[in-house]
Symmetry: C2
Subunit: 216 residues, 2 copies
Amino acid sequence: MKKQASPAKRSTTRPKPAPGYHHGELQEALIAASEAILAEQGAEGFTLREAARRAGVSPAAPSHHFGNAPGLLTEVAIRGYDALADALREAASGKQGPRDKLHAQGLAYVEFALRHPGRFQMMFANKRLVADDARLRQASRAAGHAFEIVVAELVGSTPKQAKTAAAAAWSTVHGFAKLALEDKFGSVKTDGGRREIIMTLDQVLNYLWPVSGARR
Amino acid sequence: MKKQASPAKRSTTRPKPAPGYHHGELQEALIAASEAILAEQGAEGFTLREAARRAGVSPAAPSHHFGNAPGLLTEVAIRGYDALADALREAASGKQGPRDKLHAQGLAYVEFALRHPGRFQMMFANKRLVADDARLRQASRAAGHAFEIVVAELVGSTPKQAKTAAAAAWSTVHGFAKLALEDKFGSVKTDGGRREIIMTLDQVLNYLWPVSGARR
DNA sequence: GTATCTATCTTAACACTGTTTAGATAGGGC
DNA sequence: GCCCTATCTAAACAGTGTTAAGATAGATAC
């Protein structure tokens, strides 16, 4: 009565009426909007209200699907870990020996972080996620597992030593990525800076896990 | 006239009148309050208003001394880097050979991160700091330099290789600390968990930089 | 000793944020 | 046709960082 069925009428402030809500597309729209914000503004720039705005809904709408902001971000983080695991597996699949595989994985890990800084930082921001979410933990473990497989092949001895070596590899590439994102190895904003950073990483990996026989 | 000189009167909501403002103690009080918040609540829990509250001043007071929240946090981060550099230097000074020194520094780095998680996380949160502040960059470089000195002694060859080795060492311990703080190596909340984590770190360091001759 | 000047702090307001409550709306099942 | 449930909106709340304007006190100058 008060509002006739004028579908274009409501797009006063909302960007996308996006026909087909009430059909289960809002989750995807919110996740996509969140990833876009992370890509544009970084992890600190994310805002639940902005995600709702981009999806064309009210600020309270997300709560019905994700509970709260950490709930939504957890979903984003899960997909991030899945994408990371894929990248690690694909990097290893392109090489033959375990050393080459590990080297490729290290490069892939840091390249992922530099390509998606906001998402990457959010994946490791436990306080902004539902840290004990079962699916999140599983996705994180799966990404770490991609490392362990290759490292186990490399070390080849006791599983305890494999665990240690995997922790070492993960720590090194993760620390490098984090430090690079904080500009500790030069500016990460320019193309040239990123190229320089990747070259430094290549040297670091060759130093710690030399591909050809001799070490140092 | 309106207010008699009743010094206890104003402590209605303010915790510490702290005689001696207007004397330059507010900066220190705000820094101390910020460090206390970081220690209690972590980096995400920091709030400029809460810092002002603890220092017993209005929310606008900090702006006169630090400009804005990043300004205050930058001062906190600088002191954090100074403390970290001290810890690294002291760790090295207690040992003899370069391998032992590096090992001790690695332990000291992670122990610092686990002992002061909030401060540590804030030190590497460029977006919440005045990232291009000259004193901050200097303090950060000084902490990294503590690593480079030991690594140069260890590698002993070209300065380029020393740079690479220092980047490797820093990345490994930084990554380990970051992952540990996000519970990737078990819970960091319990004493037992932390002990376990340090043991894992010890193995990682021995794996990458073995103290006694043979490697792996 | 009084007046002025400057650093320091407060009050009040603004535009944001995440979350909750209650109510409106629409689509599917009976 | 009706009801029922999922979905979304509107409005409000407490809290945030920051700014503008005004008050206050300490030191300085005369």
